[in-house]
Symmetry: C2
């Protein structure tokens, strides 16, 4: 039995979201979900004050009852709690798998930097809100139950990490940034103007010298600007990779959508315990 | 006579903008403006292709006829040209003053990093489009004519630099980032959600260890989010400054508006040639 603790380092979900995900989890008898009550707290933008989000994350990570910690939702907030929460994690956390994406990458990045536990870019409970979102949530539940069908198909023998581009850009140079030399780095983006994507690539690639290569996931819901940007998104990736001698390796399957693939950090076989 | 070359490393302005600024400049007989034709180019988002923006900036910087180079407008684009343009600048550029703000901070930062010329955060020709924008444009023209009334009032004996927060966050850790140890750093922001301001502070302050202090300019036109953020903008600045032992020094007068003050980089007296 895999026991999964769910907490919300960024924004909150509702009891209804949790009920729908719990219902789906019945399809996976090897998986048992525990929604920490902090998931439902609301204070301003966040799922409760910083202290409550830190406490819940540390509690889930340090409780020997659980095998994995799954982030309920992204949306910004983990940057305010990740460093303190990771500092308060006990040896027990090292046995665990941490799963999430988007803003959750702040915690995944910080844990990977500390080589604490295993980190997996994966759909989150909040994805149940998307049309057809059950498929995304099932992908993570299946992964937790031992299925490997939802794995990002481009994974190879290289260590890999996957991030939302904006989240990665914000991690660069901070105490939460893992060393990514030799890694294939996958990035995706949502709801950003193309000029903003270009600006984030300018920044992130300047910090990614020495990676094995970059793959571009989906860049969704790009708002229309007063003038079309003039470069396609893949041209943007190629431009900035070339600038920093980073091999551009093509597309991959991550994104803020129901097809978002699963990417264990590090070498996939190892992270899967295979 | 101060001869000022105007070019557009980011977005374009119109001939009408230029005519209105030229008309204002008649009030300052010691100042003569030359609008480089590249200011009016349009290609997608930008004032012409990267190559044209680089060429115009280098031409203005290297031409011994000019005393200053004034950026016409911000809006993103300088990140794609600053490094190559600065690399192509000749000794002549070192005699010049470069003026602008917002995305222009990419060039100002890169020049300051190279100790090439003098850099001044100052209103730009495009500010003529704002209601009451003449006051902003006159402030820079007055500065160029030798007036000192538009200077940021909080300037003291510390070396100082002023940036748009997002621009500074993107500069951090890149080849364009100047060393700011011992500096008072002024930041302002426009049209960003407070969660985004918080995220940019998370990132930028992680790169600003060792500065003498931070001052917060205006944070204007904050969009309403689905939930109020829960922290006021000055609390955000205090929070992240405290995190990195940066003295928070209070407010200052820079911003994306007609009251935007003039901030010579370095020690104000020196930069003003006094």
């Amino acid at each position: 039995m895999q026991r999964i603790a769910i907490c919300a380092p960024s924004r909150s979900i509702t009891e209804e979201d949790a009920a729908r995900v719990t219902a789906l989890a019945c399809e996976f008898p090897g998986v048992e979900l525990y929604f920490h009550p902090q998931c439902f707290l609301e204070e301003g933008h966040f799922a409760g004050p910083d202290a409550a989000r830190i406490a819940a994350l540390v509690e889930c990570a340090n409780d020997p009852l659980f095998d994995a910690v799954w982030f309920a939702r992204g949306g910004y907030g983990a940057a305010r709690v990740a460093e303190d929460a990771i500092a308060a994690m006990a040896r027990e956390a090292d046995r665990k798998t941490f799963l999430g994406y988007s803003d959750g990458g702040m915690v995944l990045g910080g844990l990977y930097a500390q080589k604490l536990g295993r980190q997996v870019h994966a759909p989150m409970p909040v994805d149940i809100r998307r049309e057809g979102g059950e498929a995304a949530v099932r992908r993570t539940l299946g992964w937790l139950a031992g299925e490997r069908g939802g794995l990002e198909p481009t994974l190879d023998h290289h260590p890999t990490a996957a991030f939302n581009l904006y989240t990665l850009a914000m991690l660069c140079g901070t105490r939460l940034m893992p060393g990514l030399a030799g890694h294939v780095v996958l990035v995706e983006e949502i709801s950003e103007y193309l000029y903003s994507v270009d600006r984030l690539f300018f920044h992130a690639t300047a910090h990614l010298g020495g990676i094995a290569g970059l793959r571009l996931g989906r860049v969704g819901n790009v708002p229309e600007n007063d003038a079309p940007f003039g470069h396609e998104v893949e041209d943007i990736a190629r431009h900035w990779c070339a600038r920093h001698s980073i091999p551009y390796l093509g597309r991959c399957g991550i994104g803020h959508d129901i097809d978002n693939t699963i990417v264990p950090f590090g070498v996939a076989g190892e992270a899967a315990g295979q």
